[in-house]
Subunit: 351 residues, 2 copies
Amino acid sequence: MLPELPEELILGIGDDAAVLRIGGRDVLFTTDVMVEGVHFDMAFATPFQVGHKLVTVNVSDIYAMAGRPAYMLLTMSIPAHRATVSSDLPATVRSDLINMSGAGGSGFVDEFLDGVADALSLYNVELIGGDVTSSQGGISVSATVIGFADAPVLRKGAAPGDRLYVTGNLGDSACGLHLLQRINRPVVIERQETINSPLPWQVMGPLLHRHLMPVVSAPVTGVRPNAMMDVSDGLSIDLRRLCTESGVGARVYETSLPRSVEMIEAATFLGIDPTMLSLCGGEDYQYLFTSPEPVSGSWCIGEITDGGLFFIDSDNKQRELVRCGYEHFTSDCKEWDRSIPSKCKERKQNQ
Amino acid sequence: MLPELPEELILGIGDDAAVLRIGGRDVLFTTDVMVEGVHFDMAFATPFQVGHKLVTVNVSDIYAMAGRPAYMLLTMSIPAHRATVSSDLPATVRSDLINMSGAGGSGFVDEFLDGVADALSLYNVELIGGDVTSSQGGISVSATVIGFADAPVLRKGAAPGDRLYVTGNLGDSACGLHLLQRINRPVVIERQETINSPLPWQVMGPLLHRHLMPVVSAPVTGVRPNAMMDVSDGLSIDLRRLCTESGVGARVYETSLPRSVEMIEAATFLGIDPTMLSLCGGEDYQYLFTSPEPVSGSWCIGEITDGGLFFIDSDNKQRELVRCGYEHFTSDCKEWDRSIPSKCKERKQNQ
């Protein structure tokens, strides 16, 4: 019999996940909500994609702490007329959930839960509970993901002189969103639907996929970053948060920003500046981290400094890093407009 | 250094809380959503009361597993115009949360978070994280509470011959709701507001309090129930769930149902049958449990049998236990009508 150690709060509000030490283990907790009309719009996404992405955005927060996601709780609030009971309910996660409150549906619920189940399987995460209720307005879904970490990496910890890394391309998701707004209807990529357009599908497909149904993976191996977080609201605002937490500054080089050939081709086609997409777009679900040592397999985009946030453009001119990225309540634009800074009033940066 | 035991899923979907064994300890997880227009109505409740009750309903699920609540994650989705930034934000839980996304408010947010903080302090639960977003429709809030138990008690486990207990009065909350519908506006009980009416305040006050801002406590000490759950949707439906999980039946005696003198007086005044309120009302947040041994300090309301659900009325006549209680999606009545079965179509009982 092991001694029953009291649990201990290692890290509370303010990072990608909270950390409790339970029975000698570091357990991570994160929660994210997705609200119809704010985070998703059924005019542009399928229920499957919404369910899939809900799992991914929560898993991303666990990976961002150098953790391994393991369990999930799910909530759904759905207008009754969009949750009619289906006559054919397979005995899976779905029926468990549906049985919780009699929800079910040939409509949103079935497809949404298929997307959730698909992503849970992808990340090897198990659904252990939830709450399903009706709603009077639109659909709202949330998840709490529980993970484990040997040594959680926080936003705090970056030191002047550290190299600044991201784990993959920036701007793909935001570019995919722009394409989707042109297409102006859901694209059922989970069933291999393709779109005919002047832009080849091999350019559009990966960008739409990255926006509608991003897949994330553990950020780094063989290295212990000094600080880390996921890039969910845009590199500019998320780097600002990491630097604030660590009490440092940073310098980012335009020529070092990793950008896909697809994004550059599509952005050019759409007449959007690829650099703005990379800095402000958001929903990249890559990881931003700092390390005193060189790291292979990730992109070094700059360095940590004593203070200030600067951007060195492709002409080698230094300027202040643009203030952009999505914030609820302090911007007048919807989430899906967030990659278009001109559409939104200037935002208060308080995080 | 303790060995790192792998975590193990002890109990998944279907009970009041899920159970994971982590580092040798049983950790409980529960989540509950409250949606405006379904679970609460700002025409009848203050934001403080909504926040307070959100914590309580989650804590109740932990107590119902014989657990001790310890930590909480919170989500809020609020229309931007109801979350304007206040100029005077004290440096508490509130400011942490508000800083997460720039929300804040002289409106809903501040008062709601006061209610959350008050209940967290009452139950000695610590807020460790959350997510705050805007919404396009109404307000939706949810919480995930994490607790610990030496030996979790499940819904499953009741055995024929067990005595059936509840920990306190049934029907008070539902009766309070009826009173509130008559009053037809919020009553600020957290600031000691009282109401003048033909019914004395010492009758109305406790009932309104039980509905608007219930307080729960650990269900039983010195006894290990065979099965337990909280009474949240009404004794009738919740007992049905406990019996289904345990594969047993039950017999309930009308004369044994614990009912407050206030509830009986108010129900009589309102012309409502107190027994229907006790069986169908819901939101009692008492605990229903079974034990082979006599238990002091709780009310024995019947016994567990081999099968069937029966009600012995005050004339000693046996009948089938009435089917009632709130279910999302299978009823056409709002939550606050649930104590009035005639207002709702007959419901499918699938849990």
